[in-house]
Amino acid sequence: MKAQIKKHIFTIGEVYNLLQNTIIYSFSGPIYFNRIIEQIRYIGLGSISITIVIGLAMGLVMTLNFGFGLKKFGGTLYVPAVVSLSLAREMAPLFTSLLIAGRVGSGIASEIGAMNVTQQVDALRALGTNPIRVLVVPRFWASVISLPLLSSLSCVLGILGGLIVCMNEFDMSAGFYFNKVFITVKTADFISGLVKAMIFGGIISIIACYKSFNTTGGTKGVGNSTTWVVVTSSILILITDFFLSKIFLVYWTK
């Protein structure tokens, strides 16, 4: 038990150390812009299709549930406000990030993990290059840049999904729907969602890179790392989301 606690504390320290070094290397020495662009292409553009699906699905399902739930109390008119606000503040960044944790987290873990077990990471070091600079920094910034954009896309599509349901199920006009959305969702709400997505992006990339640098045990080890990354980053995203929501609700969006 004591050893387990010690191991977890050590892991937290190592992850913090990696994050610190990533930020330091981002602002000193050469920056690999091409690699950042390449990663944005993989993390951002490559995740657009699943973001479209999750965004639309969230909007459609949430609106249906809220709509029929509030109908009993005559509150259908509040549906656009409830749906758009929860999407902007919470659901879009959270669900998009959880999905990206599965897709991108596992991708990073398997790619760098495989590089680690085949000595390619050692080869980078032996060639006088810092693996954090080459492998982590581009993935970190690509995630931090891509996640808010994907989250925004998911939010917009979710609101459009809500419009489809409201028009077809609750006889609401598009004008009324958007009027309610724009009155309810303030810039601060939208920005709080973007900040959350940025932080979640950072969590996914750092956790994935940390684990992949510590991958041992051949292909089985790569598989284990991939699972660990998806589970751990998802849990961390959920825990962080609670505290971020609290901070934003109390100090900012109110």
Binding site: T118, Q120, D122, L124, G128
Partner: protein, 252 residues
Amino acid sequence: MKTPLLELQDIHKIFGRNIVHQGISFDVFPGERVGLLGSSGTGKSVLLRSIIGLEYITKGKIYFNSQRIDNLSEKELTKIRTKISYSFQSGALFDSMNVFENLAFPLFEHTNDTLEEVEARIDKMLQEVDLSHAKFLMPSDLSGGMQKRIGMARSMILSPEIILYDEPTAGLDPSNTVNVVELMKRFSSSGVTSIFVSHDIPAIQEFCDRVIILDKGRVVFDNDISAFNNSNDPIVRRFLIAEGFKHANQTT
């Protein structure tokens, strides 16, 4: 008196409860071709990794060109690693890059060469390893022997002062082994110092001018190749007899 290029002083390395090295000391002089022999698990590769700083040593000192390098940070080691090169057993080519990109990577990292200059250096190096046709192939399209030769070419591309070969002939057929040893000789003729870790006695006899044998974490033999070939030391005889057995089994 000649100044050693590399000095290892009382190297100790412990992994948990496993004592790998317990006081290894030797010097390597410029231009030498040193063969490092030892049974499996005696820490030959660990020693090479320690020299280049991929492993931290538990105790002892390593000097390169009279500069202590075992206590340098990762950042400080960057410069040293352009002068000490490591050739991995598997080649360790970056599998997301083709052969050209693999060879160009260290050049773009450490030189200010233009693309034309980089291309010229790579073409010359590919000619040297006799793999010009593989320039735009991916590592997955290369055979094991070709991967090793490209890995060796990548280690040589920055013209290091010393190159550490980690079992470059392991798993190769005799013809590819000859190719690799010939390549090492060609590299060595340009003046680069070599440390060659191997179990392949004929390759050691062909390439090296000095042999060091590790046993139980210590240096138990350190002499020139003729002394190795004619030694009556039981540990040396064990290696030579084992090679004789292997040869006898192959011919019967």
